[in-house]
């Protein structure tokens, strides 16, 4: 008989570790069959989690491809070549690419969405610069930094809201702070693009209105809700 010296419970002979505290069991028997078959991957589960998503993606792709063909056909029939239909076709293609993130793991799909949106903006920028009568090269000064900013804000909110512990007023608190940060970034980038100099305008007003409210929510959550004993900390 094998016993766990830490927990004091008897361990079945086929286990090298205690299931309760993970302490190694000195006299475990390799020859005994285990309680459950150990497989590296349960195939049923792979089927369960991936299959419906793959099916949904295939259906979506077929529908989008049909839409693209119809749009291109109409454009070709009226003008004789592809002109105005290029933008919707590119948009639909990138949308489909972005949707393929459904098939990936969470962090991979998030990264793919970010890369796809950057690529989309770059292609859109190139198309508007070459095909239309005016040239608007907005990707480098606005599109790319804005996407990176949105990605950073999204990542920050993911890590903030996923951290262990209870949730409450910290959700509106952090959401408002992140929204204020995004507004400031957006304002600064647009001002730089239009005026050629860095500066904050409307976002300053938004931030001044929002940040006190956010701090109030965080105060509610972290100070009042967790009942920090201020008397104990600040007593004279």
């Amino acid at each position: 008989m094998s016993y766990c010296s830490r927990c004091g419970v008897e361990i079945v002979p086929w286990r090298p570790f205690c299931p309760l505290c993970s302490a190694p069991i000195p006299n475990w028997d390799h020859a005994e069959p285990p309680a459950y078959p150990h497989e590296s991957q349960d195939q049923n589960q792979t089927f369960l989690s991936r299959h419906p998503r793959l099916k949904a993606y295939v259906v979506l792709t077929v529908v989008l491809a049909t839409v693209v063909l119809i749009v291109a056909g109409i454009n070709q029939a009226i003008v004789g070549r592809l002109t105005w239909s290029v933008l919707p076709i590119v948009t639909v293609a990138f949308f489909d690419l972005a949707m393929s993130s459904l098939l990936l793991k969470k962090w991979l799909s998030y990264s793919l969405l970010c890369v796809t949106s950057m690529l989309y903006l770059a292609v859109l920028n190139a198309l508007t610069a070459t095909n239309l009568t005016y040239s608007l090269t907005w990707f480098w000064p606005l599109g790319l930094p804005l996407t990176v900013l949105a990605w950073l804000v999204g990542t920050a909110s993911y890590f903030i809201f996923r951290r262990p512990g209870f949730r409450g007023w910290d959700i509106p608190g952090f959401s408002l702070l992140l929204a204020a940060l995004f507004c400031c970034g957006l304002d600064a980038l647009v001002t730089h693009l239009l005026k050629g100099s860095w500066g904050l305008g409307w976002s300053l007003v938004v931030s001044l209105a929002v940040i006190p409210l956010a701090l109030f929510f965080l105060f509610l959550h972290f100070v009042l809700h967790k009942r920090i004993l201020w008397e104990q900390i600040l007593h004279l």
């Binding site: 766990c4 927990c7 004091g8 419970v9 008897e10 361990i11 079945v12 286990r15 090298p16 570790f17 205690c18 299931p19 309760l20 505290c21 993970s22 069959p33 285990p34 309680a35 459950y36 078959p37 150990h38 497989e39 349960d42 049923n44 589960q45 792979t46 089927f47 369960l48 989690s49 262990p164 512990g165 209870f166 809700h225 967790k226």
Partner: protein, 422 residues
């Protein structure tokens, strides 16, 4: 393949009041499948098992059904194909597909010395599953079927007989403490089982003036109190009531032969906001709660609430997708009201010649991503088996529980499906 889908579509039956909830909330994490299993002393014989299944199934018309979707509710239609013997997997109680696409609402798994039946809660409760397993075991060993087993009334929705117009509804509970740990990836379900001799457990329980279920409930509350004190100190969760829900087999309160769901639950709680409880205090509180809450009039209050929801005119005319959405939200809200559940199936009643071939029984409760961990108890012969099933990595609760049990002088033998390198 065609012969496998012999469905007599002209006869169908409604789901019972509790069963109506489960197809709507089924997901890869909330599978609604639970398991009752036995461990033999010798390896199983596949051919004998196959024969036993073929002999047992005709006596269970309630389980020869499959789930179909209607416009407003799910329902059950007869399905005469024998359930296949499925090999055991590393993680129990996992679904294969969406419920209405699965031909059988239960499966029979076997591996080496273990014979397990896994039922969806849509079809039956623990007592129904145990009745099926004992009948299967009798056939496997070659013992005559239980003479007390009734063929009639298996399909009855026994909740409906308790409908009393104007009966007051039970109130909702406050929000309870939950384990704050992250869930495993979908498809992993860790089961840690501890086996103790029944007589010493009964003896210690008697010293505290408790039954086995009350004693185990008190032990689990004491373990949870210890665990949550540590978690609160680490600022991983807030101080909230620690509430267990205890299912009651209603067949003992309102006689019925139904094999469908026929259970109710009641809460047993301690509130750590009021201070720390000693084990003796927890025992007294548990005993008092059991005495109050198992009153048939209070049980009827809870059933009145569930039945009123089912028979509400708006609920009846709402299309099924809308009901699914609503029931999902309602289920999540309900899950926030308790910390864990503790189900005691009671004893596996079998003749001595069958019991002689068995080493232990196991009861694995269904996975639940909201409460994350549950406890199931069953006794077989002279052995009591306590199973903790979880979708999180932390073994804190069961470690504390089994250490309490050891501290009271009760020996525990532990096994689990944890990977060996864990």
């Amino acid at each position: 393949m065609k012969s496998q889908s012999k469905i007599r579509s002209n006869s169908w039956s409604r789901l019972d009041n509790a069963g109506k909830l489960f197809p709507s909330i089924t997901s890869a994490r909330t599978t609604t499948f639970f398991r009752v299993a036995v461990l033999f002393k010798e390896p199983l014989d596949e051919d004998r098992l196959r024969n036993a299944v073929a002999l047992t199934m005709p006596r269970f018309p309630a389980f020869r059904v499959r789930l179909v979707r209607g416009a407003f509710w799910y329902s059950l239609v007869p399905y005469e194909v024998l359930p296949p013997l499925v090999p055991e997997t590393e993680y129990p109680c996992m679904p294969l597909k969406k419920l209405w696409k699965t031909p059988h609402l239960f499966r029979i798994r076997w591996w080496n010395r273990r014979l397990a039946v896994e039922f969806s809660h849509t079809l039956t409760d623990g007592t129904g599953a145990l009745t099926f397993l004992t009948a299967l075991l009798r056939e496997y060993v070659g013992v005559a079927p239980d003479p007390a087993f009734a063929d009639e009334g298996q399909n009855e929705d026994a909740f409906q007989q308790l409908q009393t117009p104007g009966y007051p509804r039970s109130e909702a509970w406050s929000r309870a403490a939950h384990l704050p740990f992250d869930l495993f990836p979908v498809g992993q379900y860790i089961v840690v089982t501890g086996q103790s001799p029944l007589d010493p457990c009964k003896e210690v329980a008697r010293q505290y003036g408790l039954t086995i279920t009350e004693f185990m409930t008190a032990l689990l509350l004491a373990a949870l109190q210890e665990v949550f004190q540590k978690l609160v100190q680490q600022k991983l969760c807030e101080v909230r009531p620690l509430r267990l829900v205890i299912p009651i087999n209603l067949r003992k309160v309102f006689p019925s032969h139904t094999l469908r769901n026929f259970f109710a639950v009641f809460p047993v709680e301690i509130d750590p906001r009021l201070g720390t409880y000693s084990f003796e205090e927890i025992c007294r509180k548990v005993q008092a709660t059991f005495q109050i809450e198992t009153d048939s009039r209070l049980i009827k209050k809870q059933i009145a609430r569930n039945l009123r929801g089912e028979w509400h005119p708006l609920a009846r005319v709402a299309p099924l997708p809308l009901k699914n959405l609503y029931l999902n939200r309602a289920f999540v809200a309900y899950e926030k009201q308790y910390t864990m559940s503790l189900s005691n199936l009671g004893s596996v009643v079998l003749p001595q010649e069958v019991l002689d071939q068995l080493e232990a029984a196991e009861f694995v409760p269904p996975p639940n991503p909201h409460t994350k961990e549950h406890c199931g108890i069953v006794s077989c012969g002279k052995a009591l088996t306590i199973t903790f099933a979880r979708q999180i990595a932390s073994p804190l609760v069961e470690r504390e529980f089994f250490q309490h049990l050891r501290a009271l002088g009760i020996p525990v033998r532990v096994w689990s499906n944890l990977p060996e390198e864990a």
